[in-house]
Amino acid sequence: MNHRKLHHNSTAQNQNEQIPAASIPKTCGNQLYHFLWFSLIATCTKLLLIPAYHSTDFEVHRNWLALTHSLPLSQWYSDETSPWTLDYPPFFAYFEYFLSFFASMLDPTIVHLTDGLNSKSHLTILFQRLSVTLSDAVLFYGIYRITRKLDPKQKYLIWVLAVWAPGLIIVDHLHFQYNGFLLGMLLISLSALENGEDLLGGFAFAVLLCFKHLFAVAAPVYFVYLLRHYCRGGLVKGFGRLVVMGSVVVAVFAAAYGPFVYNGQIHQVLRRMFPFGRGLCHAYWAPNFWVFYIMFDKLLAFLLVKMGFHVKAPTASFTGGLVGDSSPFAVLPTITPLISLVLVLLSISPCLLKAWRDPKPSAVTRLVAYAYSCGFMFGWHVHEKASLHFVIPLAIIALKSVEDAKHYFFLSIVSCYSLFPLLYEAQEYPIKVLLLLLHAALMWFGLSSYFGAYVPKGDERSHSSAVVRNADFVIGWFGKSYLMGIVVVEICGQFLHPVVLGNKLPFLPLMMISIYSGFGMMYSWIWQLKWIIGSI
């Protein structure tokens, strides 16, 4: 019996060593079960969060349920009963329309345009929270699809990173949004591209754009990549494919916007989707390039005043719109949406070049993630939540090399920390801290085991005394001290600030968080840029 066991043991190891693919068919059913296990654990945790704090986005989405349910399509984008008007593309409106049927079955006041305003009944909360939790099925499918070809070891780790991503839980299940479902579509599209199914990938991306237009930042990358990868093979064949792809995309957009064009509402739809007059930064500054720009301006103004120059104090705020010709900056030139757009395109250009010269399916996820980081760094009125757009896709490729793993470890902690100000109430404080700690611990053990050399100490039999040496996965002293700095910033902002300064300078802790995470984001962006330039 002992002998048989030994034999079995060695064959399993051999399989592991030779071709991981060989063991996949054997454990295929298992894999799905394992994946379901991971996602159900996440779902159970999300269910527990139902009564937690939710932001005004909760009422935004409730209002959209109500207006799509009670009004004809032609008035969806012109209704002004509530200040939270519909400003997502039509597919999202259809999605809300679809949900509203179930909502009205549960409780008609949820979808009542005026009676339902600010409704916070148990049923409303239950329904809305459940709709987010259930729509996460798309995210799970996307993750499962994009990881299905990896070997089991990588799969498990990536599932830990993506299925249990703390940022998504904070934004979707506490703050309240539907990002999981949208990112799921992005992952489906990326998995199709990685698999060479370009048409499906293009289709899924077009659908995604009609759900949330913010994802359009990656559209140039998609365009160049599909043009070079899908529409190749001679002039005639290439042109034919271009026509096919073009008609698929046009068909998707027609399905989304057609009814509004028919109703003569298209101008109104576009006006809502692209509201001009919002400021450069969101109320809480997203940790991007503009934070440094603003701080540099303040510093310059301070120095010039010290040196005796007369500097006019700015009258406008960064977060509000541009009022007249006054500028929110004291010294540096004002930033207009056009400048921001040009900067985004400029920063994307290396990855466009890469996509043009070498459209490899295996690199597409990285290129798209990079495009979203550019949008995040230089975009106009960027929300801190937008960092999820590249953190989640990067999770998928975190195991490609040890450098990727280190970068991801660093980035996902910074990104999650930069989401902390979204939950400012005391009740959720332990939740966000525990989410981040748990994620960091799982990542640390997972990545360092995966990349660490495994050195058994002494006898083979003494498994317990084996030592794991992190030969490769090492966060240097600089990275470590930066991450420790997060703890310092958090303690200063949350505990020392109220004691020392009381109610004075209430925005200082937030500013500290966004500046500090800004450094981390900047590092991540430069790291990605370097990778892309290095690979051209």
Binding site: T45, A52, L157, A441, S449
Partner: protein
């Protein structure tokens, strides 16, 4: 290129089961790594559950257990120690008077001080009755959370270290699974962090006591168990097992009398220290003691799935007998139910049977003792979770029944969502891919019966939540739940008793393996 090589040759798991590969990255980092991750997750789950309402939230005039605990803090920080258990114009014992042993009172005092620091209004004498606020709820919740993290969690780590030291390597891969099942016991989380109680403290002390005894530190174990007893008198459910195991062990020593005296002194000393403020006169100590045994509350409460409540459908115990004979009857019933397990422990005080003994005596108390509450099922659940490796099926079966038996209580507390989520979480963790080596038991012939019972429970839940009971029998559904659960508990009780008497093959095998080594 070299990096690639290393990656192609990932750390080889030492086990053949393909499922265990899932967790190899954490298992190979040792028990502490798994413990850190699992306890962070367990804490997260606890915080999430604590978002939900507590018992008696917004329900004057008596509120619920939350108000009781808050009231104890109010009393203990505003009155001198001697007045805590005494009825007076200031301390109205009819309004949630202190009826737990002194250690609970000290803990209330300590937590009361913290509350007074941050929210003085919540513990001010008299005016704070029925006080409910956002920050007050948070602080109260955080006191439970910190007690859990500081007492229960380290105790579990201690237990796991002791339990798995010297076990064969093969079993070590399941350590994480075992930790998760103990730390994420849905009943304990729902009662402590949902309903609102501090069971984690007395249970944590018990866990530590068990671990100390398993590592042959009998004196430490006795002290810890005495502390548990002094935090919640309900810990006495375990006393027969502790008593008979330690007695049996002492009898096998060279000087039994000295050994017994040592342990006796440790216990008496602990009690003396805890009770010191009340030892100045016999009257004072009796006053406290009388508060701890609330016989006037009747032989059972609500619809608890124990012998007295279930049989009361046929035999009206409360009408048939007076208090005194009832007390006597329940005492004899409890002792005779404990007896087989106690005799076995005295006769053969082995560590594996000690764990069974804990389970059996706690179940015997739950089924037959006086004044049992639904929440008391937490006590048998604890040793059942110790035995998760040997008898996973018993833990699953007992936990599910315990959850169902508490369902009416949790519905009253508006804790249905966490009930569903934690039930799901427990089942998922139990079926953790690659978590457990011994899968024989789940494929037992009871499969169909189990499926039938599970579907019964599912239907019952839906019926309970949606259909109003007939007017003639307003507690019909509670009675049905109680009957079902009681029958399961009795079956489990009989099964674990026979298991205690028949030495398990598994432990026999492992001792054999040790001999070979």
């Amino acid at each position: 290129m070299e990096k690639m090589k290393i990656r192609k040759n990932p750390p080889k798991p030492k086990f053949s089961d393909p499922d265990t590969g899932i967790w190899s990255w954490i298992v190979q980092r040792g028990t502490v790594a798994s413990f850190i991750c699992i306890s962070l997750f367990a804490l997260l789950v606890r915080v999430c559950v604590s978002l939900h309402p507590y018992s008696g939230a917004g329900n004057p005039p008596k509120y619920g257990d939350y108000e009781a605990q808050r009231h104890w803090m109010e009393i203990t920080i505003n009155l001198p120690v001697k007045e805590w258990y005494r009825n007076s114009t200031i301390n109205d014992l009819n309004y949630w008077g202190l009826d737990y042993p002194p250690l609970t009172a000290y803990q209330s005092y300590f937590h009361g001080l913290i509350l007074r620091c941050f929210d003085p209004k919540s513990v001010s004498l008299y005016t704070s009755r029925g006080y409910e606020s956002y920050i007050g709820k948070l602080l109260m919740r955080w006191t439970v959370l910190s007690s859990d993290a500081l007492i229960f969690f380290p105790a579990v780590l201690y237990f796991i270290n002791v339990y798995y030291s010297g076990k064969p390597i093969k079993e070590k891969t399941s350590v994480a699974w075992h930790i998760a099942l103990i730390l994420l016991n849905p009943c304990l989380i729902l009662i402590d962090h949902g309903h609102f109680q501090y069971n984690c403290i007395s249970l944590g002390l018990t866990v530590a006591a068990v671990a100390a005894i398993l590592s042959d530190r009998d004196v430490v174990g006795s002290v810890l168990f005495s502390l548990a007893l002094n935090h919640k008198q309900m810990s006495a459910y375990f006393a027969p097992a502790f008593f008979s195991y330690l007695l049996g062990k002492c009898l096998r020593q060279q000087n039994p009398v000295i050994e017994v005296a040592k342990l006796g002194l440790a216990v008496l000393g602990t009690f003396a220290v805890v009770w010191s403020p009340y030892l100045y006169s016999a009257e004072a100590s009796l006053e406290v003691l009388s508060r701890l045994a609330p016989f006037e509350r009747g032989i059972y409460e609500d619809y608890v799935a124990n012998f007295w409540c279930t049989t009361s459908i046929l035999v009206k115990w409360k009408r048939l007998l007076n208090m005194q004979p009832l007390k006597l009857l329940s005492l004899t019933a409890t002792i005779s139910a404990c007896l087989p397990s106690m005799i076995q422990l005295i006769w053969k005080p082995r560590k594996s049977s000690f764990l069974y003994g804990l389970l059996n005596s706690a179940l015997a108390f739950y089924l037959f003792s006086f004044q049992v509450h639904e929440k008391s099922i937490l006590l048998p659940l604890l040793p059942a979770s110790f035995l998760a490796m040997e008898k996973p099926f018993v833990l699953l079966w007992l936990t599910q029944n315990a959850l169902v038996s508490m369902f009416p209580l949790l519905t009253r507390d508006k804790l249905i969502i966490p009930y569903i989520a934690l039930h799901g979480l427990f089942i998922l963790l139990y079926h953790l891919p690659g978590g457990r080596q011994h899968k024989k038991e789940t494929q037992s012939s009871f499969g169909t019966l189990r499926l039938f019972l599970l579907s019964c429970f599912l239907v019952l839940h839906v019926v309970y939540l949606t259909i109003a009971p007939p007017r003639k029998y307003p507690f019909l559904f509670e009675a049905v739940i109680m009957l079902l659960c009681f029958s399961q508990f009795v079956v489990i009780f009989l099964y674990t008793n026979t298991k205690q008497w028949t030495p398990s093959k598994l432990s026999a095998l492992s001792t054999e393996a040790k001999k070979h080594l």
